[in-house]
Amino acid sequence: MSIQVNAVLIVAAILFVLGFIGVLTRKNILFMLISVEIMLNAAGLAFVAASAKWQQADGQVMFLFILAMAAAEVSVGLALVLQVYHQYKTLDIEKLNALKDE
């Protein structure tokens, strides 16, 4: 009935790095949002692991807050994606260069 703390933290770190690689390498806004969700989920996993390690409820409370934040973030983000698609007819971030310094 025992799990190594390090193992859980390593899994959370791997998931976070995978999401980070996704944000860095994809050029579609939708995929970048998905990768941000993966990163938030990994952070929540680390919180729940800490909660299990010290048998306190605080980590799970933090996970609840992360959950609410992720839901709010994804709704605003998807509204922005829809708006970008209506204005520019593309989701390629390379095309959204109106603020680029000439």
């Binding site: 703390v5 790095v17 969700e37 993966i38 729940v48 909660s51 998807l78 509204a79």
Partner: protein, 190 residues
């Protein structure tokens, strides 16, 4: 418990790798569901059953459904896959991936070098969480309520469909540009 944890974390990592390498958004979302489910299994093996339920309901339910609806509305498909394929050439992603992998390896070494502490898994029941949530964290809970309201209002405002508008100083310029383009077109076709 140990075996359950190992299997579900392997599934989580594999499905997340599949998510960030798929070209078609719908395939990526299907693998994302599997990833969230396996993270919920990890929560279960860590003694947090309530969090596992919430993970399935909110992440794998609500958020994935939002993503799928938006993918459907945008009608993403072949062109998106083509665009990502054109962009995701090895020489582009190998560099950042190697650097990120080095950082990950460093972190894993640091985590395994410390004295190994195994933790006893005891279930932290929802009652304890709820008492903590409405006791010491009541301010944070209300702030999360504010955040949700801001999210709803922001999504409703930003998502409103309105026609493409320019700033009032740019409006004349844009109109003359369009006029010029139309004239050019007329001259060269007619």
């Amino acid at each position: 418990m140990e075996v359950l944890f190992c299997i579900s974390s392997l599934v989580a990592i594999l499905s997340t790798v599949m998510v960030i390498t798929r070209l078609n958004p719908v395939h990526a979302l299907l693998y994302l569901v599997v990833s969230f489910m396996s993270v919920a299994m990890i929560f279960l093996s860590l003694g947090a059953p309530f969090m596992a339920v919430l993970e399935v309901i909110v992440y794998a339910g609500a958020i994935i459904v939002l993503f799928i609806f938006v993918t459907m509305m945008l009608n993403l498909g072949k062109e998106t896959a083509e665009q990502e394929r054109n962009w995701l050439k090895p020489r582009v992603w190998v560099g950042p991936s190697i650097l990120a992998a080095v950082l990950l390896a460093e972190m894993i070494i640091l985590l395994t070098k410390g004295q190994p502490g195994s933790m006893q898994v005891t279930v932290v029941d929802p009652k304890k969480v709820a008492l903590s949530l409405y006791g010491e964290y009541i301010i944070a809970l209300e702030l999360v309520g504010f955040l949700m309201i801001a999210g709803i209002v922001g999504a409703a405002h930003i998502g409103k469909h309105r026609k493409r508008s320019f700033h009032r100083f740019l409006e004349d310029e844009a109109e003359t540009e369009q006029q010029l383009k139309a004239d050019y077109h007329d001259v060269h076709t007619g």
